[in-house]
Point group: D2
Chain length 204, copies 4
């Protein structure tokens, strides 16, 4: 297949992009001077060289030329090492960081376990999480927060992690789930039964 | 003003209706036979005669020809009389009933107190609520649930009710707020800081 | 059935209104003082008394206390009596008037003939149109414009009217259709084949 | 700037992509194996080598290993060489081809001339168009179709091309514009005055 059509195919794989927009990307690139395309190529080529997966939380971070294997959060002594928030993706971690409400550590699972999936290990870093929690318990970890979105597959992922970490519960580890209830903007009149049930149960 | 234009004006007052749709309503009525319009007129005319505002919770209910002044919820001995959910509108009450998660009583405020409003009593049944809570405390009421939507004006309404009921707190009345956190479908990546803060705080 | 539920049913018939919004209308009316409801009742009651269907174009107009049977357009000697725009509804007529581009007369069919309908006369004023055109031809009518929206049922309605008026074509009456092509805002990239075909055919 | 942030910036330039989706693209690429990224890089690198700008209509086409400088449309003897559709972009050309209603030739301007722009030549291939029309007139060209979208800037582009080609009008070249009117799906009730004016003017 020629590069034109192949590139449309590849861009169609990008998250949220269909064939029509993929084609517009290709036409867009064709109108750009070689300097632009060259910079795009270099940025893609260097992307993995310039970034590093944190050896502790598996978050991706910029190396900025350094040799660090720990990200800025994991190496920050002022963070609360008794808390570990388990998230599905880097974007969830960023969202929690931006909220300014969390000062503990993270673990990035790298995916979501679909409901009824027989081989959950294929989707998430389950061994790495197990090892990491084991090690961190010695370092003062007391609570793992399952920081999952409120949809079926994400909840299933949380349940998988919960089962995975059962052995540590006996050793006193607390496993918690993000609170459910009314999120900002929720109108009672248009709320589903589940949200109302949680809002009532978690009233305070 | 003639009836045609006056009716457009009145329909434009209806919740969610602009002048263009109001005009379509009027044209719609003009195409209908007298029997249809007659039934509409009778239904509007009898609406208040056939309905009753509950003397206890101020909810509107169908009289169905009866003489009851108490609605079916307030007169139901199987409901939990220790709980009183204060809601803004009948539609909020209906939503909670449909969820099947609440078995206490209700009080319908009849409105929302806008932020920075100096005269909140204009908007809600504050005296009626005060009297009702006073009386119910003798009947076993132990908790008032502020069941408000999660927006600025509704939260302001909740705070107003909270202040109003301060005298009863000293007598042991608990005042609670619907739980905040992730509602069904909430994605971490797209959540606002407030929702994430609440979800973290209310984790369990 | 009680008035509360019957009124919800009736409002659910209104164009664009579902049961949920219909219920909000009913609650809205219940919060209003008798003076408001009274005015609504009077406006609905007088609607047909205060309006008149034009004896010539079947448009609805305000009587404003007068005895006229002809609407302001039909009785306006400055309008071009050689042109007759046949529209489905009053709202289409209003839209053409607002455009300021048409100075002829109108005929309001009062409906749309669905595709594959065997009994089109049920839906539109076909006899009245026939009679009206016959009479107007003597008064100088030379062209009937089928002013229909560009969707399947409306086009079918146009074809029905076209067949209905065949006898007058032999007597020299021109029957025209609104031009097809790019409407304001149409992007070539997102246009359907039909629109492009018409835009090419009708280029000038 | 590091590749991570630079790549987000570059993707944010892509048509229809904001910073948030650009970031998702970068995270997406980071999860992909080197084979995938490698193929993307090759496809971008070879894009211009594998495509060719047609020397006649300036359309981009796949070389498929050949040495042709004329695209398949320009070299097709069965196309109607008396018609030349001037379009802004390749995607407009594709849309017209897909409609199956046009069998003439094309010229791709490569852009749009914004309203009130003093230097229109910066935006479109005006010299190339002039030369091309001059040459084609000798080859039987009789009509140039300004095939522009129906928005302000595109119409301005059409007017610019119209002025540019004035010298050829004296030599008998016809310059036409795509027809305006109702496009598929247009409802009279919701149409703007311009569309209705055109639909009336272009009735037939």
């Amino acid at each position: 297949m020629n590069s034109f059509n192949r590139l449309i195919e590849i861009f169609s794989d990008f998250p949220g992009i269909g064939p029509r927009q993929a084609k517009r990307f290709v036409y867009f690139l064709l109108t750009k001077p070689p300097a632009y395309t060259g910079e795009l190529l270099r940025a893609i080529e260097n992307l993995k060289n310039n970034t590093q997966t944190c050896s502790s939380c598996y978050r991706i971070f910029n190396k900025n030329g350094g040799m660090a294997t720990l990200c800025s959060i994991c190496s920050d002594r002022n963070r609360d090492h008794s808390l570990l928030a388990v998230v599905s993706r880097d974007s969830d971690l960023e969202s929690l960081e931006k909220s300014g409400s969390y000062n503990g550590l993270y673990f990035v699972l790298g995916g979501i376990v679909p409901i009824l999936e027989n081989d959950p290990e294929k989707y998430v870093r389950s061994r790495e999480l197990f090892t990491s929690v084991e090690k961190r318990i010695g370092d003062g970890l007391t609570e793992v927060i399952l920081a999952m979105s409120a949809n079926a597959d994400s909840e299933n992922t949380g349940q998988f992690v919960d089962r995975l970490l059962v052995p540590f519960k006996e050793r006193g580890l607390k496993i918690s789930l993000l609170g459910r209830g009314l999120s900002t903007g929720t109108e009672l009149e248009y709320s589903d039964a589940d949200t109302l049930r949680n809002a009532l149960k978690n009233r305070k």
